[in-house]
């Protein structure tokens, strides 16, 4: 039985691990991956101390710091459930392992939100992607659409505008991301910004061929020829396995 189990090894989980280790708690860090959402970011420009650092490099440094300490770590493990016991809590993993501790810190991060429109599931991995840093290089010289108006969408658009033929940035709302990112992309001559537009459908048989969009003001619908669709419309908390003992709000 541990004194503490930390679920998740993104920045929050790894920072917790360092604090727990410095207090010499008998602690377990359990996570599917090391680095969490920061791994999806090519360049981090707002982590104090670094003017620019790759997300994966920053997380490697976090991991190095955690590894300085003799802390039990289980990676590649997804937590399936968290339940209360007489003495604390029990964590069960997808691999069937279970671990117990007096206290649990939940730092499970988030996953990409889906559009939930026709064609999205069928064409996932065939032009529909939620990881611009992974799949962006596949679309060199092609036309793509980035969906969303927040920082993740703006960052994906910034990456893609350097390598794609045309980038359509389609957002349901006005921009919600940082002005510094908006400034970076709005001047590019291969960027077409379509604010207050809704994506209705992703079309294609074996691969993405086009998307159908609607202008929310004029109600006009039209299709854009694209071979890639980068969906960056926000994140959903990874809180499903925890809902038995943690009260969740409407956002999860």
């Amino acid at each position: 039985m541990y004194e503490l189990i930390i679920i998740g090894a993104g920045p929050a989980g790894m920072t917790t691990a360092v604090y727990a280790a410095r207090k010499k708690l008998n602690a377990l860090l359990i996570s599917y991956d090391i680095g969490g959402q920061v791994l999806w970011t090519a360049g981090v420009e707002n982590y104090m101390g670094y003017q620019l650092i790759e997300g994966s490099e920053l997380m490697r440094k976090f991991e190095e710091q955690v590894k300085q300490f003799p802390l039990d770590t289980k990676t590649g493990e997804r937590v399936n459930s968290l339940s209360q016991t007489n003495k604390g809590f029990k964590v069960r993993t997808a691999k069937g392992e279970s671990y117990q501790a007096r206290a649990v810190i939940i730092a499970t991060g988030k996953r990409p939100r889906q559009l939930n429109i026709p064609g999205e599931d069928k064409l996932r991995g065939k032009g529909v992607t939620y990881c611009a840093i992974c799949d962006g290089p596949l679309f060199v010289g092609e036309s793509v659409a980035v969906i969303g108006g927040g920082n993740s969408a703006l960052e994906a658009a910034e990456d893609m505008v350097k390598i794609a033929d045309h980038v359509y940035l389609v957002s349901l709302t006005l921009f919600t991301g940082d002005q510094i990112l908006i400034d970076k992309i709005t001047g590019a001559n291969n960027m077409i910004v379509l604010l207050e537009h809704e994506v209705l459908e992703i079309k294609g048989e074996n691969h993405v061929k086009r998307i159908k969009i609607r202008d929310l003001k004029s109600k006009q619908e039209r299709e854009l020829d694209v071979s890639g669709v980068f969906i960056e419309i926000g994140l959903i908390p990874n809180s499903d396995p925890l809902k038995e003992i943690v009260q969740l709000n409407r956002l999860g």
Binding site: R124, G125, K126, G136, L138, G228
Partner: protein, 78 residues
């Protein structure tokens, strides 16, 4: 059965790194194609594997798009 595992990757893809680590940790030899540098491999991945995402892992006629450890474990018989 002998497996010839091929993995298509891009350099900054975190799931590609996780997939390669999983294969290595389980003693599975693999051939890697970085599709940023190797345009022919990119076309092969697209046309032969019908995939436009990385990692794409191919072996014995199976194509797995993305890294799903549980699925990969089953398909590889681990």
């Amino acid at each position: 059965m002998a497996r010839e595992v091929t993995i298509y990757t891009t350099p900054n893809c975190p799931y590609c790194k996780m997939a390669k680590k999983f294969l290595a940790d389980n003693g599975i030899e693999y051939q890697e194609f970085n599709i940023v540098e190797d345009k022919a491999a990119r076309e092969e991945m697209k046309n032969r594997c019908n995939s436009l995402a990385v990692p794409t892992i191919c072996f014995n006629g199976e194509v797995l798009i993305g890294f799903n450890e549980a699925e990969l474990r089953v398909k590889l018989g681990l």
